[in-house]
C-alpha cells in the first residue's frame, strides 16, 4: 500500500515557494511572539506556585455552587473548572502566603467543600511555593537552549555549519510556534508541556537530519546537479517516510489525547502541534535556510586529495 505516489517530484524549494514558506514561518513566529508578549502563557501551578485540588463528586458537580462556597469561606481568586468527567472538578488557588500552613489550608478546603457534599473525594492536593516556579522557568529555558546548542554541535560535526544553522533555526521555529499555540489558545502550560516541547525538538530534528542525510548522499551521487535540485530530489525521496512516521506518531498521540485523561491532555496537544509544525519545518524551513546560506555540494564532499602528491606518481 502507498499513501503517496511512488515517485513524487514536487518542487518544494524553488525560489518562489521558498519565499512563501519563509513568509508563512515568519508570520507564524511574529504572531506567536506577539501573543506571548501580550497574552502570555496560562502557566500551571508548577510555575506560579499556589494550590491545586482535584476533587471527585459522587454525582455531577455544581461549579457555581462550589465557587460561591469558596468565596464564602474567604478564598479569593479561586479558579473552578471541570476536569474531564462531569463529576471531576479542578480548583486552583493563588499562593497562600509564605507562612501559610498547608495542613490548615487543606483541612479548611476539605471542610468548605464538604458543606455541600460530605462524600467529596480530594483526589489530588498540590501546594507549590512560588520560589520553585521561578527556578523551573529558568531551568526549562536553560534546558531548551542547552539542547539546541548540543544539537547544533552534533549537526555541525556530522554535516556542516550551514546545515547546523538551518536545523537549529527550524527547531527554534518549532519551539516558538508550539509555545505560541499554547499562548494563542491559552491552554494550560505545565511542566509536562516543557517536556513535550523538548520531545518535539527531538522529533523535528530527527526529520531534518534524515532529510540532510539523503541530501548529502545525493550531493555525492548526483554530481553536477545544482544544490537546489539535489535538495528537492532528496526531500521528495524522503517524503513517504516523513509522512508515514508522522502518521504513526500522530496515531499514538491521538490515542493518548483521547484516552490518557485530563492530566496528559496539554502534553499530547503540545506534541501533536509540534509534530505537525516540525514536519512542515523540516521540509521547508531547514533546507530553505541552508539554501539561502548558499550551501553547495562542495560543502559536504570529502576534501580532495592534494594534487601535488599525484604528480609524483608514475
Amino acid at each position: 500500500m502507498r499513501l503517496i505516489r511512488e515517485k513524487t517530484s514536487i518542487d518544494f524549494l524553488s525560489i518562489g515557494r521558498r519565499r512563501v514558506a519563509l513568509a508563512v514561518s515568519a508570520i507564524l513566529i511574529v504572531v506567536s511572539i506577539a501573543s506571548l508578549a501580550t497574552r502570555g502563557l496560562n502557566f500551571g501551578i508548577d510555575f506560579t506556585g499556589g494550590v491545586l485540588l482535584e476533587v471527585g463528586y459522587p454525582q455531577e458537580a455544581d461549579l457555581d455552587k462550589i465557587r460561591s462556597l469558596m468565596a464564602d469561606a474567604g478564598f479569593e481568586d479561586v479558579q473552578v473548572q471541570r476536569f474531564g468527567a462531569a463529576t471531576d472538578v479542578m480548583l486552583r488557588l493563588p499562593p497562600q502566603g509564605e507562612g501559610a500552613n498547608p495542613n490548615q489550608i487543606r483541612d479548611s478546603l476539605r471542610n468548605t467543600l464538604a458543606v455541600d457534599e460530605p462524600d467529596v473525594d480530594l483526589r489530588r492536593v498540590e501546594f507549590v511555593g512560588p520560589q520553585v516556579g521561578e527556578e523551573l522557568t529558568e531551568k526549562g529555558g536553560l534546558a531548551m537552549i542547552f539542547a539546541l546548542l548540543l544539537i547544533f554541535a552534533y549537526v555541525m560535526f556530522r554535516f556542516q555549519w550551514k546545515f547546523s544553522l538551518g536545523a537549529v533555526a527550524a527547531l527554534a521555529h518549532d519551539v516558538i510556534v508550539t509555545i505560541g499555540f499554547f499562548s494563542i489558545f491559552y491552554l494550560p502550560f505545565d511542566l509536562t508541556v516543557v517536556a513535550a516541547v523538548l520531545a518535539v525538538i527531538g522529533y523535528s530534528l530527527n526529520d531534518t537530519v534524515v532529510a540532510f542525510d539523503r541530501i548529502r548522499e545525493n550531493f555525492l551521487a548526483l554530481r553536477g546537479v545544482s544544490a537546489e535540485d539535489a535538495m528537492n530530489t532528496s526531500i521528495n525521496e524522503m517524503l513517504a517516510r516523513t509522512i508515514i512516521t508522522g502518521v504513526t506518531t500522530l496515531l499514538v498521540l491521538t490515542a493518548l489525547l483521547v484516552l490518557g485523561g485530563e492530566s496528559v491532555g496539554p502534553f499530547s496537544i503540545a506534541l501533536i502541534v509540534g509534530i505537525v509544525i516540525g514536519t512542515y519545518s523540516s521540509i521547508y524551513t531547514a533546507s530553505a535556510i541552508a539554501l539561502t546560506l548558499e550551501v553547495t555540494p562542495q560543502d559536504l564532499l570529502p576534501p580532495e586529495d592534494d594534487p601535488d602528491l599525484v604528480d609524483d606518481l608514475p
Binding site: 492536593v125 511542566l191 520531545a199 542525510d213 485523561g261 496528559v264
Partner: protein, 604 residues
C-alpha cells in the same frame, strides 16, 4: 547475502529471552503485605521471619508467603483484613523496636524473587502518596557553625587572659572586640591557631577583628547540613513505618521526600520539618556564673537564669520513649556514654540544686519588608521543667512538662536525631489512591490502543515486512518494561506518555529501511540485493536521527525534575532499545525467512 552467522541469531535470541525474563515480574499483580524493618536500620536475619510467623500463628494468621527482602521481613497476605490484623499485632509487640508498614507487594513466585528480580516501581502519581519538597535553611546552618566558633574562640581568648567580647554572628560575620589594643595581634594568632581556614579581617577601630568562614568552609558546612538532614529525615520516615520511602537530595539545598501509600500528610508534616530538641542546664541560682542567660518559662512557669554550659543536649540522646510518670506524660531518655559522664559529673557536684530542661524549637517566619518577602528562622527556647537534683544519675532519666502528643513526637524526634539545619516545605503533593489507579488505567489503555493502531497500519502498509516490524515493536515494549524493572526507575504518567511516544517513533527506523528497500526495487535491483542495500543504506540516517533525539532526551534527564525526568527515562530507553529491535531484530527475522532463498518479489 542476507544471512547472519549462527552466533548472532543465538545472541539475538538470548537477549530476547533475557528481556522476557526481566519483564516477567510485572505480570503477577500485587497483594497486601506487612513490611517489618528494624528501627535502628540493622538488617534482619532468617530467624526473625520465623519469629514473626510464629507470633502471628497464635492468632491464627498465616501469611501466604514470608521472606526477607533487603534486611526487611515481608509477610504477604491473601486479604486486607488479615494484613491489618497482622499489622496491629506486630506493632503492639514490637513497639519502638521495629517499624511496621502496610503495603502492597508484588505476588512473585519464589524463584523469581531468588533471582533478585522485581517489577517496575510505580511513581506516586500512579499509586498515590505524598510528595514533599523541603528546602534546607542554609543561612541558619552556617550561623549555627559560627555560634560554635564564637563560643570556642571566646573560651580560648579567656584561657589566655585576653579580655574580649564576641558579638553574635551577623550576616555571616563574627565581630571580636578586645579591650586593650595591644591584645589584638595575640587574639589574631590565637584564632588563627584554633582554625587555620577562617578569614580574619581587621575591624575599623584597630581594636576589633571581623571573622568570616571561607567559601570552602561554607560549602562544606552546607553539604554537611544537607547530608545530616537526609540521614535524620530517613530515620524519621523509618520511625513512621512507611514502606519504600524515598529521601533524596535535589539541587543545592533541597530534599525530596516521597512516601507512597500515605494519605494524610498532617502528622507527617509536623514530624518531618520539626526541629524540636532538648537541652539540660543548671540554674544559676546566685547569678555568679559568667554568661548566664534568662530563659522564659512555658505557660505559667517562671523564667530562670540558666548557666551557659550545656550538661546534655539532643544530639547526645540515643534513645527516647514516650510514656507516663506519676500520671504525667513523660519522655524517658537514654544518653550516650559522653553525655552520661557529663550528667553524672554535673549531678554529683550539684545535688540539691535545680536543673532545667529547655525545649528548643525553630520555626520559619516570613515578613514583608519593602515589598520583598524576607525569611528568618525564629528559635524559641522555653523551660518546660525545673527540678531539684535529688540524687546522682547518669545516662537514664525522665523529663516531664509536655502534653501527650508533644511527648510522643519529641520521643520520636530525639530517637531519629536532630536536623542540622531547619527545613521548610516549598512543595507538597498528595495523590489519592483512586486517582493513581485511574492514571494507570488511562495510561495503559492509551498504550494499548496506540500500539494497536500502529500495528494495524504497519501490517496493511508494509504487509509481511510490516508484521516483522510489529514483532520488533512488541519486543521493544517488552525491553522497555524489562529495563525499567531492572533499573528500578519509577514509572510515572509522563513516563507512560514517553512509552506511547516511543511506540509511534520506534517504527521510524523500519519505515526508513522499508522505504529504502522499495526504492531499491524500483531502481531495478534484485530482491535479495534490495533487502541488503535497504538495510545498509538506511543505517546512517537511523543512527543520526536516533542520536539527535537521544541528545534531547538526555538534556531533559539532566536538567529536568519530577515529571520531566520520568518522561526522559522512558524516552531514552525506548530509543536505545528500538535501535536494537528495529535494526538487528527485524534483520534477524528477515534473514531467517528470506535469506538463502531465491525470491522473486519482496513483500514490502
Amino acid at each position: 547475502m542476507n544471512k547472519y552467522p549462527s552466533w548472532l541469531y543465538i545472541l539475538v535470541l538470548v537477549i530476547f529471552l533475557t528481556g522476557i525474563l526481566l519483564a516477567l515480574p510485572n505480570i503477577y499483580g500485587s497483594v497486601p503485605a506487612v513490611q517489618i524493618a528494624d528501627t535502628e536500620g540493622d538488617a534482619y536475619g532468617e530467624p526473625r521471619v520465623e519469629e514473626f510467623v510464629e507470633l502471628l500463628s497464635d492468632s491464627d494468621l498465616v501469611p501466604e508467603a514470608a521472606y526477607l527482602d533487603d534486611g526487611r521481613v515481608v509477610l504477604r497476605f491473601d486479604n486486607i483484613e488479615d494484613q491489618l490484623q497482622a499489622g496491629d499485632i506486630l506493632r503492639d509487640r514490637y513497639r519502638n523496636m521495629a517499624s511496621v508498614a502496610l503495603t502492597l507487594t508484588p505476588k512473585l513466585p519464589g524463584w523469581l524473587r531468588d533471582m533478585g528480580l522485581s517489577p517496575m516501581s510505580l511513581g506516586l502519581d500512579l499509586r498515590g502518596g505524598v510528595h514533599f519538597l523541603l528546602e534546607v535553611d542554609m543561612a541558619t546552618a552556617v550561623e549555627s557553625r559560627l555560634k560554635t566558633y564564637q563560643q570556642d574562640f571566646l573560651d580560648r581568648l579567656r584561657d589566655d587572659r585576653i579580655i574580649a567580647r564576641i558579638d553574635d554572628p551577623n550576616q555571616g560575620v563574627l565581630l571580636v572586640r578586645v579591650r586593650d589594643e595591644g591584645d589584638l595581634e595575640k587574639a589574631r594568632n590565637i584564632i588563627r591557631a584554633a582554625d587555620g581556614e577562617v578569614l580574619i579581617l581587621d575591624g575599623a577601630d584597630g581594636r576589633s577583628l571581623r571573622i568570616r568562614m571561607s567559601d570552602t568552609q561554607i560549602r562544606d558546612r552546607q553539604d554537611f547540613a544537607i547530608e545530616q538532614n537526609i540521614t535524620t529525615l530517613r530515620n524519621r520516615v523509618n520511625q513512621l513505618g512507611v514502606a519504600e520511602p524515598l529521601v533524596q537530595r535535589q539541587g543545592i539545598d533541597r530534599i525530596v521526600v516521597q512516601l507512597p501509600g500515605v494519605q494524610d500528610p498532617n502528622r507527617l508534616d509536623d514530624i518531618l520539618t520539626a526541629t524540636a530538641t532538648l537541652e539540660y542546664r543548671l540554674v544559676d541560682t546566685d547569678g555568679s556564673s559568667p554568661g548566664s542567660r534568662r530563659y522564659p518559662g512555658r505557660e505559667g512557669m517562671p523564667g530562670q537564669m540558666l548557666k551557659r554550659e550545656v550538661i546534655a543536649s539532643g544530639d547526645q540522646i540515643i534513645d527516647a520513649e514516650a510514656g507516663f510518670s506519676q500520671g504525667q506524660p513523660a519522655v524517658f531518655i537514654t544518653l550516650d556514654a559522653a553525655g552520661g559522664e557529663r550528667m553524672l559529673e554535673a549531678t554529683q557536684q550539684s545535688v540539691g540544686k535545680p536543673m532545667s530542661t529547655v525545649f528548643i524549637e525553630s520555626r520559619r517566619e516570613s515578613t514583608v519588608v519593602n515589598g520583598e518577602v524576607v525569611h528568618n528562622t525564629v528559635r524559641t527556647e522555653e523551660i518546660i521543667n525545673t527540678a531539684t537534683i535529688r540524687g546522682v544519675f547518669k545516662d537514664r532519666f525522665q523529663t516531664t512538662g509536655l502534653d501527650t502528643i508533644e511527648a510522643r513526637n519529641l520521643a520520636l524526634l530525639l530517637r531519629a536525631g536532630a536536623l542540622a539545619a531547619p527545613v521548610y516545605k516549598v512543595e507538597e503533593r498528595t495523590i489519592g489512591p483512586s486517582l493513581g489507579q485511574d492514571n494507570i488505567n488511562r495510561g495503559f489503555s492509551a498504550v494499548k490502543i496506540g500500539f494497536l493502531a500502529v500495528i494495524v497500519f504497519m501490517a496493511i502498509y508494509y504487509r509481511w515486512f510490516g508484521v516483522i516490524a510489529n514483532i520488533a515493536l512488541f519486543t521493544n515494549l517488552i525491553f522497555i518494561v524489562a529495563l525499567l524493572s531492572l533499573l528500578q526507575a519509577s514509572l510515572t504518567l509522563p513516563g507512560i506518555a514517553g512509552i506511547v511516544l516511543t511506540v509511534g517513533m520506534a517504527v521510524d527506523a523500519n519505515v526508513l529501511i522499508f522505504e529504502r528497500i522499495r526504492e531499491e526495487i524500483a531502481a531495478g535491483n534484485k530482491p535479495q540485493n534490495a533487502i541488503f542495500s535497504g538495510y545498509e543504506k538506511a543505517f546512517s540516517s537511523i543512527a543520526d536521527a536516533n542520536i539527535t533525539t537521544l541528545i534531547a532526551a538526555v538534556v531533559l534527564f539532566a536538567l529536568g525534575t519530577g515529571p520531566i525526568k520520568g518522561f526522559a527515562i522512558t524516552l531514552s530507553l525506548g530509543i536505545i532499545t528500538s535501535m536494537f529491535t528495529a535494526i538487528v531484530g527485524t534483520r534477524a527475522i528477515v534473514n531467517l525467512t528470506f535469506g538463502r532463498r531465491r525470491i522473486t518479489s519482496v513483500p514490502v
